[in-house]
């Protein structure tokens, strides 16, 4: 065995390129599991995680524990909280608690799906631009510039309003609005990995481009991706609430926190709870995400601390 072959073999073993060794995978997983654990050890992170678990549980288990229809109407309109309706009833006599629970499902779904759209588009654009550079990079980044020229909520209003206000369109709109930001951040993170010697080493060994992008670049920017997603899920939930508040999001009779606030404006003097509960729900969810996001940023991606 020649010296260079030995080095190549050694590099390959270290990188887990041939054969795909399990320890490398475990190591990568362990790193961000540990990041999570460290983040939750921090008091703010713990509070954030607890609040989020509560919101997720109420969205998932809520309909089981409180099996009241969110659209069933009653003659008991605008009732204050009572054992029958723990958070009172709205202007059509519908139970506010079950509407809040359904609103949690809407918010979480919009947050998860729209950020996933942005993540997928951002990954494809960002990693390709960073990896191939040159003309492709230039064109892709000019296109993101064009999107950056329009204020985010204005673009969301345009897309959602003109496509027609449905939940799917809202998720698409928010995904499109965030995709350029994701592409930019991912490009930057990917570039810092691509310039490292071990990527050169992998290239020298004849590893294919796709494999380098997946096994070397993608795996090493996961910390950044998690932080990015936590930050933008809260933005997506706020944007959905704003769009629904404007009447450009979730449509009646289906409730969302934003549309509940919109409806509350007519009746808030008679029944202040209608204007308070959905807002508290939004605030707690965002607070939880912000607390957790802040701690995660410290443990997983210290470089991003100043970027936001």
């Amino acid at each position: 065995m020649t010296v260079s072959a030995t080095i190549a073999k050694k590099l390959a073993d270290d990188e887990g390129v041939v054969p795909p060794k399990k320890p490398a995978v475990k190591g990568a997983r362990l790193a961000w599991t540990r990041g999570f654990i460290d983040a939750v050890r921090n008091p703010l992170g713990a509070v954030g995680a607890a609040v989020l678990v509560l919101v997720v549980l109420s969205a998932v288990l809520g309909p089981v524990l409180w099996p009241v229809s969110y659209s069933a109407q009653d003659y008991t309109r605008l009732m204050p909280p009572s054992p029958l309706n723990p958070l009172g009833t709205d202007e059509l006599g519908r139970d506010v608690l079950s509407r809040l629970i359904h609103g949690a499902q809407v918010s979480l779904q919009v947050g998860a799906v729209s950020v996933s759209i942005a993540l997928v588009v951002g990954l494809v654009v960002g990693v390709l631009a960073a990896f191939y550079g040159g003309m492709l990079d230039l064109i892709l980044m000019r296109v993101t510039d064009i999107f950056f020229a329009i204020p985010g909520l204005v673009l969301a209003i345009l897309i959602s309003g003109l496509l027609g206000p449905t939940r799917t369109n809202v998720m698409m709109a928010i995904g499109i609005v965030y995709a350029p930001t994701f592409a930019r951040v991912i490009r930057g993170a990917a570039l810092s990995i691509i310039n490292l010697p071990y990527v050169d080493a992998a290239r020298t060994l004849g590893v294919s481009d796709g494999r380098i992008m997946l096994r070397h670049v993608f795996r090493n920017i996961q910390g950044t991706l998690i932080v990015l997603c936590t930050i933008y899920i809260s933005g997506a939930i706020l944007t959905e609430a704003a769009l629904s508040f404007l009447g450009l999001g979730t449509q009646p009779p289906e409730p969302s926190w934003g549309s509940m606030l919109k409806d509350s404006m007519t009746y808030m003097r008679l029944s202040p709870g209608l204007a308070i509960f959905p807002g508290v729900a939004i605030m707690l969810t965002i607070l939880g995400l912000n607390f957790l996001g802040d701690s995660l940023r410290d443990t997983l991606d210290p470089k991003m601390r100043d970027a936001h």
Partner: protein, 309 residues
């Protein structure tokens, strides 16, 4: 600058295409019936609005119109768009300026206090308050403010807008709550950023030099440290302009103020394309120009920044 013009042109194409290529059309809104009138009526209507022209022709007319200051007329009311925007701009402008001022005037001193009293009760209070400020939706704060003033003080803001040049006090009274609501998240962000960057700057050599030369603490902070610590704060304000404009749009709807954002939202509902595209392009233009101004401000504030080009 060289890159700004292609970006701006691209932005106008994007908005133009978004408005054209999406489903739903103006005939339903104009004739008041789903699907519009008869097929011939719809054809004639589209013809008269210039919507039968090929897309490049429509785009060219739109672009040259914008450049000449003639943005066309509203499909529905027939009013010139320049007039509609002319009435709406002062309102949005005032909200965003007041909100930014408020955020800076309150946020910077609180951030300084937080940094100077690091890890004491005021610092913890300010930091937790900051996280709350970032988590409260603008429009919910606006609703709560309306709820509070109407039920506790029995006061509701006037429904019609009072121009500042007609009644200064009345205008400020009316605009205070909307501006406060819009400023909330920027205020919180400024507080956090001032704290972080001041702490960083306070560790630098030139600050120690100033202290060693016997400058008082307040002088070191205001004259030496804060000046450089504020550079990231300016960046932050620049990055937040988009949020501020979006926030203003929603708050205008909450308080029923006929600003640019409210105009855009109403026109979107009615599919009044000329208003939608002109308003969106206008907002984007303002957005890009303000970002340019912020870029230029850096250099004045921090002489250490030199542009490569």
């Amino acid at each position: 600058m060289g890159q700004a013009i292609p970006t701006l042109l691209g932005m106008t194409v994007l908005i133009f295409l978004l408005v054209r290529l999406l489903p739903g059309d103006v005939t339903s809104a104009m004739t008041g019936a789903e699907g519009g009138g008869t097929a011939e009526q719809n054809e004639a209507l589209l013809e008269s609005l210039g919507l039968k022209d090929p897309l490049p022709v429509q785009y060219w007319n739109f672009l040259t119109g914008m450049l000449n200051g003639d943005m066309g007329n509203s499909y529905l009311s027939g009013l010139p768009i320049s007039q509609i925007l002319g009435n709406a701009i002062p309102i949005t402008l005032e909200i965003t300026i007041l909100a930014t001022l408020f955020a800076v005037v309150v946020g910077v001193p609180l951030g300084v206090l937080s940094a100077v009293k690091r890890n004491t009760a005021p610092d913890v209070g300010i930091r937790i308050g900051g996280l709350f400020g970032l988590s409260i939706p603008h429009f919910w704060f606006g609703i709560l403010a309306l709820l509070l003033t109407s039920s506790v003080f029995h006061w509701v803001p006037q429904v019609t807008w009072i121009p500042i040049w007609e009644d200064f006090g009345g205008n400020l009274l009316q605009m205070a709550l909307p501006s406060l609501a819009v400023s909330l998240s920027l205020l919180a962000a400024i507080m956090r950023m001032t704290r972080t960057s001041l702490l960083e700057v306070l560790g630098e050599d030139y600050v120690r030099t100033a202290k060693a030369k016997g400058a008082s603490t307040s002088r070191v902070i205001t004259r030496h440290a804060l000046r450089n610590a504020l550079v990231p704060v300016i960046t932050l304000i620049g990055a937040d302009i988009g949020n501020l404009m979006g926030g203003a749009a929603v708050i205008e709807v909450v308080f029923g103020l006929p600003g640019v954002g409210n105009t855009l939202v109403q026109a979107t509902f009615l599919r009044d394309y000329p208003i939608v595209q002109s308003t969106a392009v206008f907002l984007a233009l303002v957005f890009v120009s303000l970002n340019l101004v912020v870029d230029l401000l850096y250099k004045t504030l921090d002489p250490r920044i030199e542009y490569a080009s």
